[in-house]
Symmetry: C2
Subunit: 143 residues, 2 copies
């Protein structure tokens, strides 16, 4: 199944598929990206944590009732090991004409290399005050 292999071939590919599924409100596509582990964790901005597939699926189903959410991940910082990848990024969330200057959203996304490719084990998003700062530290996107 080359299509599935390509989809999970790298943490970046899985992350792209994650935000693409959120934009399209595609619940099944989104849930295939998570690792098959009891301990998967999802924290939506300003919300309590959710542990396990059933709770995570229900939360996204509720979000998708209002349609997809267009999120553009920027200013990504990456720490890799052979079997895991940690991405910390700023989520630029598109709200139509409204410019999100009063706050921004930070996310830590963690991927594990499984026999079925790179899968999400943790998505931790939270709100920070003010506009997203311009990142002056060296970013992994420049490496």
């Amino acid at each position: 199944m080359p299509k599935i292999n390509r989809l999970f071939a790298s943490p970046e590919a899985t992350e792209n598929a994650f935000y693409d599924a959120i934009a399209r409100a595609d619940l099944d596509a989104l849930m295939t990206l998570w690792a098959d582990e009891d301990e998967i964790v999802c924290i939506h901005p300003g919300a309590a944590r959710l542990v396990g597939r059933a709770a995570i699926r229900a939360s996204w189903e509720a979000i998708f009732e209002r349609g997809g959410v267009h999120i553009h991940p920027t200013q990504r910082h990456v720490v890799m090991s052979s079997m895991s990848a940690v991405h910390n990024l700023i989520e630029e969330i598109r709200h139509g004409d409204q410019e999100p200057t009063q706050r921004h959203v930070l996310a830590t996304n963690i991927y594990l290399k499984t026999p079925a490719g790179w899968r999400i084990v943790v998505h931790h998003a939270s709100v920070a005050p003010g506009a997203a700062p311009v990142d002056t530290a060296p970013s992994s996107t420049l490496h």
Copy 2:
């Protein structure tokens, strides 16, 4: 240096040393626990992210000017791979007599196995509304 080896022998040992250093307001001890990587990230609850050793050190120095912070990590969920460990937990923060019932703090702590032992690469803490829920999902502490 057996003392140093023991200190970083496992992600749990490094995590215990992390919260112990915060309780004692020991900045040097705290900073030795972080990995020697450009991309280390620290997000304090409700704050913007900090990338790199200098910014992270300065933030803790400012916090420690008011003394140590007593944090008891509870309801830990763990995902391990051979070279990394992801801990998601609730931080019970002791504020003297004040019971923190209006909100609680969630943290994702990520550890990497380095030649110098298990070191922190990301500490992402955020605020969630309400009292900390009682965790009914299977916890790694029971495994």
